[in-house]
Symmetry: C2
Subunit: 327 residues, 2 copies
C-alpha cells in the first residue's frame, strides 16, 4: 500500500463484492499508519450509505465450548439458504500471542472454502479499543460488499464481550453442560448482555445432560433476569458437530430481531450504538493523550503511590494529574 491506493477503485471493488479488493480494504482499515487511517475513513464514508443491511450477531463462549465448529456449521447452513455470511472476530489477546486465534480459517474448513462466505481472523491492532474499531469498520465493508449476515466471534473473557455486544443486534452465548451444579462459562456481567443462550455439544451421550442444563439455566435466568419489554432470553440446546438444534438457534436469533423491529427498537439500538461508540472513542483518545503526556507520565507513579498510602485524597491526586496535562 502507500501512494498507490486508489479509493475510487477500492470503493467500486468492495461494492462489486470483489474479494481481493475486499481483503485489501480490510487491511487498510486495520492499518495503524496515520496515512492509511485517513484513507480508510475516506473509503468508509463512501461506503456507509451501502452498509447497515446485515443481521449482526455476536457469538461468545469460553475456549473449548465449540465456537468455531458451531459457526462453521451454522454459517454453512445459512449460505445454503442463499445468505452471504461474513465471519469477523474480536480477540485482543491475539496481539500478545503474535497471531490471531479467532476466526482462524483452518478451524472453519467448510465456511472458509465457501464462495458465499468470508472468514476474517481477529485484527491484531493493539488495544481492545483498536481491535473493536477495526472490526466495526470491517463490518461496514462487509455490508457494502453484500454480506447479509455478519457473525462476530469473541472469547468469553473480559471486556471483549462487552465490546462485541455493543456492535451487534443479537448476542448469542454458547455454553456447555457440566457435571455438578455449575455451567461452564456463565460468569459475572455476561448475563446482562445475552439475547440467546445455547448449550452446545448436545449430542450422543451428552444430550440428556445438555437438556437438563438448559432447563436449569432457563429457570435461573427467569428468576434473576426480569423479562425485558420486548424480549426474554431463551435457552436452547444444539450441536455444532451434528447440526442438531442449529435451525432452532437461528430461529431464535431471527425472532429476537423481529421483536426488536416490531417494538421499533432496532434503529434506535443501532444509532445509539454508533453515538455511544463515538463518545467512547473521544474518551479513549483523550485519556490516551493524557497517559502519553510526559508530565503526566512522570507524575503518575508517585501520585498513585500517595493515594495508595493515604497521603493524598483521590480528588487532589486527580487534580494534580490533570494540571500536569493542561499546563
Amino acid at each position: 500500500m502507500g501512494k498507490t491506493i486508489d479509493i475510487d477503485a477500492y470503493a467500486e471493488g468492495v461494492l462489486a463484492g470483489h474479494r481481493p479488493t475486499l481483503a485489501r480494504a480490510i487491511t487498510l482499515v486495520e492499518s495503524r499508519r496515520a496515512d492509511h487511517a485517513e484513507l480508510a475513513q475516506e473509503l468508509l464514508v463512501r461506503l456507509l450509505p451501502h452498509g447497515g443491511e446485515s443481521h449482526r450477531v455476536g457469538v461468545t463462549g469460553v475456549p473449548g465450548v465449540g465456537k468455531s465448529t458451531f459457526i462453521d456449521a451454522l454459517g454453512t447452513r445459512l449460505t445454503g439458504r442463499g445468505h452471504r455470511v461474513a465471519v469477523l472476530a474480536v480477540d485482543p489477546s491475539s496481539t500478545r500471542s503474535g497471531g490471531s486465534i479467532l476466526g482462524d480459517k483452518t478451524r472453519m474448513a467448510r465456511l472458509s472454502a465457501d464462495p458465499a462466505a468470508f472468514v476474517r481472523p481477529s485484527p491484531t491492532a493493539g488495544t481492545l479499543g483498536g481491535v473493536a474499531r477495526a472490526t466495526r469498520e470491517t463490518m461496514i465493508l462487509m455490508e457494502a460488499a453484500g454480506f447479509d449476515v455478519v457473525l462476530v466471534e469473541t472469547v468469553g473473557v473480559g471486556q471483549s464481550e462487552v465490546a462485541v455486544a455493543n456492535m451487534v443486534d443479537c448476542f448469542l452465548f454458547l455454553t456447555l453442560a457440566r457435571t455438578g451444579d455449575q455451567l461452564q462459562g456463565i460468569k459475572k456481567g455476561v448475563l446482562e448482555l445475552v439475547d440467546v443462550v445455547a448449550v452446545n455439544k448436545a449430542d450422543g451421550p451428552y444430550e440428556a445432560d445438555a437438556r437438563k442444563a438448559a432447563r436449569e439455566l432457563a429457570r435461573a435466568l427467569r428468576l434473576l433476569q426480569p423479562t425485558g419489554p420486548s424480549w426474554t432470553p431463551q435457552v436452547l440446546t444444539c450441536s455444532g458437530l451434528t447440526g442438531a438444534g442449529l435451525d432452532e438457534v437461528w430461529s431464535q436469533v431471527t425472532a429476537h430481531r423481529a421483536a426488536l423491529e416490531e417494538a421499533g427498537e432496532l434503529a434506535d439500538l443501532r444509532s445509539r450504538q454508533q453515538v455511544d461508540w463515538m463518545w467512547a472513542q473521544v474518551r479513549d483518545r483523550l485519556m490516551d493523550r493524557l497517559h502519553r503526556h510526559p508530565g503526566v507520565r512522570e507524575r503518575t507513579p508517585g501520585t498513585e503511590a500517595a493515594v495508595r498510602s493515604g497521603e493524598l485524597t483521590a480528588t487532589l491526586a486527580a487534580e494534580r494529574l490533570l494540571s500536569a496535562f493542561t499546563h
Copy 2:
C-alpha cells in the same frame, strides 16, 4: 461558611467526635464552591491518616424492600454492642426531586436519636459522580470521628449501585419474596456486585415464602456465579421489622470481611478502589471540560446527527469533536 472556616478547628473537632463540627465538615465536603472544595481537600488530607478503620458496608434494594427499617434495626443492634455507626447515602435522584430521600432521619427514628450513631441523608451535589465523591469523602470524616461501621445506603437502580459497590468492603443486597417465579429487585448487572443477599420481610405469614425464595435464589446464584477464590455470596432471610435474622446477616458481613483479610485482599481492594476512583475523576473532569468547551458544544448536535444518519463514521466524528476541543 467563608473566611471564618478554621481548618485546624475543624480537624480537631472531627477527631474529637464533636457532632456539630462533624456536620459542618460534611457540609464543607458537600459544597460545590471552589473555595470550599480547596478547604475541604486540606481538611481531608489532614484526616486521612485517621481514616480507613471502619467496616464499610453498602446496602441496596429497590424502593419498598424495607432498607430504612432494616438499617434502623441493624444499626441499633450494632450500637447496642458498642459499635459507632454512621449511615450515609448515595441517591443522585435526590437532586431532581429537590430533597434527599435516602438516609432520611424520619425513616430511621431509633438510629437518628442514638448518640452512638450519625445519620446523614444523601448529598444533592448534582451528578452521580459528585454525589459519590461527597459520600466517599464524608466516609473519611466519619472514620476520623471514630465511627467503626459505615453503612452506605443506595437505591436499586442504575449506576448508583456500582458507585457504592466501588467504595465499600461488602455489598449487601436486600430483596423480597414474590409470588410467581421472580424476585423483586434482582436485575441486570447487580449480581456481579453482591457479597451478601438477604430476603427481607421474612416475618409472620411471609416467612415461608421468604425461605423458599432464598433457597431458589441460592440455587440460581450457585448455577450462574462460579465460586470466587475467597468468597461465595450467601442468601439469608431476615426481618427489619421483627429483627429476626439480622444477627445472621451481620455475621455473614463480618465473615466476608474476615475472608477478604485472610486472603490478604482487603488492603488490595481498598487501595485499588482509591486508585480507580482517582482515574475515574481524571476521566470525568476531562470529559466534563470537553463537554463544556464552546467549540465542542457547538459541534455536538450536528456531529451526533451525522453519525445517526450514517453520513459520518463514529471515528471521524470523534476526531472532529476532539479537534474542536484541542484547537
